[in-house]
């Protein structure tokens, strides 16, 4: 039996692969196994359908946020078009399922691939543009895709939307919150595993080099345009995959949700969670989704509280205010996001009673 590794009292990596390792200690592995067990065995049994519904939404949002973090946090290409890519995935899955009669798993995977291609098309401007010019180009992409959702009626059925047939795998219906939970979270675990490991490969290191200084990266022999496109493709694949799951889960799609605000929500998730951190994307997705639910729940609560519906109507816009305020406060006070907060909390436990 090999020796258990515990936390050293400093950074003592002697080889590069120690530096690259995912788990610093065997405790990390243990916690991962425990976490997975709780996730798959306990949560679906304990939770009420409504809570499970929110958890599913969190899982879907996390997949998209992880994809976006690969693009923004690791490659440094800011995209404001991710909401539209999410929509492309949703529409692709819906159209494949209804028109071409694809089965569930094929439709979701193909939707991811189609979105990856679309993402690469909108990543082409990164050949010449960077920083804010690229951001504005993706913003334009967002509006153009949004327009197509609404007006390419032969394909998207315009404002009427598309009904998506219920998901089935090998004759097994995946209709309810309960069974869809397993679909969402098995894909979530797989996608997270891929993302975490992708960052350790040459591709991931190339992404990080491009983020830190693209000219220098080019000088080191990294073909930056190809890697930028790859990053766009991977992150759009994640977005499209999540969008396809979402389409199957919700059951009908219209152009309405896939606006700039959805893109902003995704970027907010990774900013609040922590740029360049995979767990951070998940934290951010949890926080934003839960915040959304609490705020709309509060509005509904006031609405039903007889005689208070006027108050509810005036308070409703404060949802946007609170959403904005959360972003602003995080950026000003903890720009590294929840991942950093988590790290500080953990290390202060580990180092107690000494402060450092």
């Amino acid at each position: 039996m090999r020796k258990l590794r515990l936390h050293p009292c400093g950074k003592f990596s002697e080889r590069y692969d120690e530096e690259l390792s995912i788990f610093g200690t065997d405790f990390g592995r243990l916690w991962l196994v425990v976490g997975c067990l709780i996730l798959f065995a306990a949560i679906p049994l304990v939770c009420k359908p409504y809570v499970l519904y929110i958890i599913n939404l969190i899982g879907i949002a996390s997949i998209a946020a992880i994809g976006l973090n690969i693009l923004i946090g690791f490659t440094g290409q800011i995209s404001l078009g991710h909401g539209a890519f999410f929509g492309v995935g949703a529409y692709a899955a819906a159209i494949l399922a209804t028109v071409a009669g694809f089965p569930f798993y094929a439709a979701v995977l193909c939707a991811g691939l189609i979105t990856a291609v679309v993402g690469m098309i909108f990543g082409i401007p990164s050949l010449r543009l960077k920083h804010l010019y690229l951001t504005i180009a993706t913003l334009a992409g967002q509006f153009i895709i949004q327009y197509l959702f609404l007006h390419w009626e032969s394909l998207t059925k315009g404002p009427v939307g598309i009904f998506v047939p219920p998901a089935k795998i090998f004759g097994l219906s995946l209709g309810g919150d309960h069974s869809f939970f397993y679909v969402v979270f098995i894909s979530f675990v797989l996608m997270t595993w891929v993302a975490v490991n992708l960052i350790r490969t040459r591709f991931g290191r190339a992404f990080i080099a491009i983020r830190d200084n693209d000219r220098a990266a080019e000088g080191m022999g990294i073909p930056i345009f190809r890697y930028k496109l790859l990053s766009f493709a991977i992150s759009s694949f994640y977005a499209g995959f999540a969008g396809a799951l979402w389409a199957y889960y919700i059951g009908s799609i219209t152009p309405e949700p896939f606006t700039l605000s959805l893109s902003v929500e995704f970027v907010a998730m990774i900013i609040i969670g922590g740029l360049g951190s995979i767990p951070g994307s998940v934290f951010g997705a949890v926080l934003i989704t839960v915040l959304n639910e609490i705020l709309s729940g509060a509005a509904k609560f006031f609405m039903n509280l007889g005689g208070m519906s006027d108050l509810a109507l005036t308070i409703a816009p404060l949802r946007e205010f609170i959403f904005g305020l959360t972003i602003v406060l995080f950026i000003i006070f903890e720009p590294k996001g929840l991942a950093e907060v988590w790290r500080i909390v953990r290390s202060s436990f580990r180092l107690w009673p000494f402060s450092y």
Binding site: A140, G141, F143, V267, I271, P317, E320, G324, V328
Partner: protein
């Protein structure tokens, strides 16, 4: 022919408005390199303050106008001091998301205070302003837009060219470190440029409000229209913003008039992508030179 002239005038005046709206945006970008996503909300705030003062508090129009300018000037200062100052030197994504967050905050507050309905200003423009060109009647609002637009563009042109504050602003935009070492108060320049930008935005917000009525959602949407305008003109160029505004305004109106009204909304962005491919730094923008 009449239809064409009508569209031409409409397009020109919308273009002038875009130019005015873009002016505040360019001002902020020029001095502090901040891409302001809350610009539409700044327009809306100005328009609503004027609405509250002029038609609810029943102040005389010139007084209300002056008070609006003063209060938005203060607001610009406050925004810079509270939110932007802590972020000097931070990464682009954080600055962008901060202005996005501000946009949500302002929009929420405006909706909370004024609701999502369409409001209108009292009719205060003299009827005598109406013009007749080629048998097309140009309503007084558009004439006033032209006049106010020209006056303000002239004032800001002169301000940047000759006043010492304007020269400071240009120097900061050109090279922050160099101007700092030559004794320019860079922080004051930032604050001032936000304040002036807020004032300019308020003026364009009021003019937009006169033409289309005042609605939080519509005025906020104009803030996003500014992007094609400034990219076409070049992000740093005030003259470029004016020309870009007019081009985008004309393009939008003619597309709306001759092709389809729904395409009107998205045409500026299609043009935007095209420009970014062909001439990324716009017609008059400065090409960034990078040294590794």
């Amino acid at each position: 022919m009449m239809f064409f002239v009508q569209l031409l005038f409409q397009g020109l005046s919308i273009g002038f408005l875009y130019a005015l709206a873009a002016l505040g945006f360019v001002m902020i970008f020029k001095s502090s390199s901040v891409l302001n996503f809350a610009h539409g909300q700044l327009l809306a705030i100005g328009a609503f303050i004027f609405l509250a003062l002029a038609s609810w508090a029943h102040l005389p129009i010139p007084v209300a106008f002056l008070l609006t300018l003063v209060s938005t000037f203060m607001l610009g200062f406050i925004i810079e001091r509270l939110f932007l100052r802590p972020l000097i030197g931070e990464a682009l994504i954080e600055v962008i998301m901060l202005t996005v967050g501000l946009a949500y905050m302002f929009k929420g507050l405006l909706l909370f205070a004024f609701g999502g309905n369409l409001h209108n200003y009292p009719d205060f423009l003299p009827k005598g302003l109406a013009l007749h060109v080629c048998a097309v009647e140009v309503p007084p609002v558009y004439v006033a837009t032209f006049i106010i637009g020209l006056v303000f563009l002239l004032i800001f042109g002169l301000f940047f060219k000759y006043s010492s504050q304007g020269i400071y602003m240009r120097s900061v935009a050109d090279n922050q470190t160099a101007s700092l070492s030559l004794g320019v108060h860079v922080r004051r320049v930032f604050a001032l440029s936000w304040a002036i930008a807020a004032v300019v935005s308020a003026i364009s917000g009021i003019i937009l409000g006169i033409i289309n009525g005042i609605n939080v959602h519509e005025l906020s949407a104009v803030g996003l229209k500014v992007f094609p305008v400034v990219i076409l003109g070049g992000l740093e160029s005030i003259g470029g913003a004016i020309i870009g505004g007019i081009i985008i305004g004309l393009l939008e109106t003619f597309t709306g008039g001759y092709i389809s009204t729904s395409l009107k909304e998205v045409v500026p962005y299609i043009v935007l992508v095209f420009i970014l491919f062909v001439k990324p730094y716009g017609l008059f923008g400065l090409k960034e030179i990078e040294r590794v």
